[in-house]
Symmetry: C2
Amino acid sequence: FLQHGWVMGSPASTYICFHFVNAFPLILLDLLPAKNGEEATMQFLLELVDILTNYVRKSFDRSTKVLDFHHPHQLLEGMEGFNLELSDQPESLEQILVDCRDTLKYGVRTGHPRFFNQLSTGLDIIGLAGEWLTSTANTNMFTYEIAPVFVLMEQLTLKKMREIIGWPPGEGDGIFSPGGAISNMYSVMIARYKYFPEVKTKGMSAAPRLVLFTSEHSHYSIKKAGAALGFGSENVVLLSTDERGRVIPADLEAKILDVKQKGYHPLFVNATAGSTVYGAFDPINEIADICEKYNMWLHVDGAWGGGLLMSRKHRHKFSGVERANSVTWNPHKMMGVPLQCSAILVREKGILAGCNSMCAGYLFQPDKQYDVSYDTGDKAIQCGRHVDIFKFWLMWKAKGTIGFEQHIDKCLDLSQYLYDKIRNREGYEMVFDGVPQHTNVCFWYIPPSLRGMEHNSKEYREKLHKVAPNIKAMMMESGTTMVGYQPQGQKVNFFRMVISNPAALQSDIDFLIDEIERLGRDL
Amino acid sequence: FLQHGWVMGSPASTYICFHFVNAFPLILLDLLPAKNGEEATMQFLLELVDILTNYVRKSFDRSTKVLDFHHPHQLLEGMEGFNLELSDQPESLEQILVDCRDTLKYGVRTGHPRFFNQLSTGLDIIGLAGEWLTSTANTNMFTYEIAPVFVLMEQLTLKKMREIIGWPPGEGDGIFSPGGAISNMYSVMIARYKYFPEVKTKGMSAAPRLVLFTSEHSHYSIKKAGAALGFGSENVVLLSTDERGRVIPADLEAKILDVKQKGYHPLFVNATAGSTVYGAFDPINEIADICEKYNMWLHVDGAWGGGLLMSRKHRHKFSGVERANSVTWNPHKMMGVPLQCSAILVREKGILAGCNSMCAGYLFQPDKQYDVSYDTGDKAIQCGRHVDIFKFWLMWKAKGTIGFEQHIDKCLDLSQYLYDKIRNREGYEMVFDGVPQHTNVCFWYIPPSLRGMEHNSKEYREKLHKVAPNIKAMMMESGTTMVGYQPQGQKVNFFRMVISNPAALQSDIDFLIDEIERLGRDL
């Protein structure tokens, strides 16, 4: 006899998982599709779920560490029975479960309320449920034939996102792609196809020298797209910004004129809505005016900022976005959808398919019994495409549009709390003045030993440059919290605090500041 | 009081899920990170797991249909309480669970033993467990900092795959990418960077007109890469094949000479190892000789065939693969890893990073406390990258190399069984002669009404062209099994049977043939 279950006592938070020890060892060949493999399969999956739900509970528990740091060589040498090497012979299922537990143990709890290290943080339970279902369904987005429900969910969700952007109803297109960098790459490809469709068949030699424009503060994926797609990274012109990291429109126009004078063709402008480091929003309307004047494609990279479109309070930062030709928007960042979930949205219908279709006969048969306009695969640069939509659709169902709005507003309030807390606090210096536009709060912590020094001296700059990396290293060693740092232009290393984690509270912000001071005061 | 659990009676396969009805309705705000949200979270997740495990059990049950087909307009109009539209207001968690159940109900059971529709079929329980864990960990592959264990697993697994290819130990590189099309795109980018590194900065105008070669039977992603990366699809030259779909080396050489005579530069040859429709393996050694002679990059697209490298019996079909400069290999196809899992492997170390790096300061800080050579993100064209490695690593642990070998050999044996069964059977005609090289068995079913007709007549061809789509439509309506069809060149629609599903048995092959005859006999 085999028995397995959870008993939950309410209201206590103790969960007892019981199973008879003699149930193991099971081996792989006991599992489905083995004959009579149901029971072993259920047992194995429930054991795993026990490990996973324990991990989830602990991830939200502030007494648990964010990470248990080890160096690569330590993990490679093997940790107490956790051996990463692959072998010819199978392991027992018992060992597989141990491997699962250890994988989580030595990882980073990105859902922890004190994990602030990336733009994507938090662990949304509905989103998690969506991912578990997605992997159980294990299908592919290329045709309606094998993903009918997911294909329709994607279509409806993209339509809703375009409405929120403010494009005319009934128009437009889009697709979910594997991340913001690929979404941005799509935008460049589509822009090129719009103005020089013959490049698709004849290559870049069929067009004049094409130039892309994006700000110094924009994401590196625009430059990467320029390199990959055959423009060359030197033909990606970086625009100057104001002290807050926002594009200066006059600089854009001057650089367009300069490029035209050289005989090159200005093709594309990327306006960033929520830059990676400063959280800056470029002035879309003024950029759109210039794009119209010079007949250029306007892309808005809202990978990070996109979520603010859901907030009546904050969407004014996107003013003019409805004039864009394409928009990148990553629900996996500010909206807390599990990784990954990124949309490229396009105002003009048909152009995405025109740009990418190759009409593979084995996949996109025109003589199917259903309306094959729902076979979306040929719009993509991918063939197989992971189902990234379901978790997002399910979260939208569970939260409603207003739930996303509340989450966004709460995160921005929290970042305002942090800003108010440190802007006049001893030992802190803000990287730029004024209330941040997004949740990015950029600051230097100045240890007591540096506080009297001349700010412009080489020694001060060199010492300050090392403060954030030192604190970060100690933070990771002690495993209490995580926050990012980087230099930017001439500015030495500073902390970039970002808040997208729905679990974070004011007390977690307080904890972060205390921790920075505890670890940094003797530097 | 709240109680929830499974009681499993052994050996009977009945599972009883019990919970007090008054436990619901819970709402979203009861879940973590809500204060005291643990219990509601556990309850919700366990309810979901109950839905998922039921789905898993039924997917392996031959008395369950493969799909319950509905047309797009039917699903869009809403099915008995299943409404795909998104709204401003939240739904109850009870409705969310109903949505989950309905999403699975109207989907396609790709793990069903009689689902043969794609190259990726089956539902591996260990792989599924790996995906559930991956989504619970919810992290990103770009740095060791936030994915220490996964980054090392990827490194070790790629090393093992390169060893299996047969490249010199200690050399080489690679990365997991979102599917075979992107992996193939990487190979073209790297080849261009190897021979014309200045294209990265200066664009395609810095190089002569570059030409790519790939067979008529190869995957359309090479052409898509040519279009996307600025070569132009007309500069992707298609090679003729023999009647089995294998590249004719003399045709390659003739076309290279032709291109050179025109003053263009032959850059890259793609040899397909396991073509999509015929399962053909191009002769790698002969192609490698030509690539050496003309100093060209040799890529092997083993997206579909790659699994055969694990089989001592079948890997001879890859003879010469160790001479390739790069290889695409999708464990999510023949090896049964859940979607998606695709590797691009490169023989030369450093070139992947050279080609793609942009050194973003905010992500890849050089002054971290650990060995930053483990930060792999800058090698990718993506920024954020989904963790595709863990499910594969876990399956490898659980099966061992020999487990993959057994799976591959079994699938090829099954396809041989199908081939032997139908090649002389009345009413069948093979699309090409001889034992297939992979599990692809391509055939026409000729309904009795067509059997006496002149094969070369227009009427016969037109009628036969409609047979496979008609049978497929009826198959989907009845939901009993699924198999793909397509035309190829001058050949009218035929069935392409592929076997990668570990659940498939000889009786399922018999069932498929019976079903084709049942549905097709009156056409």
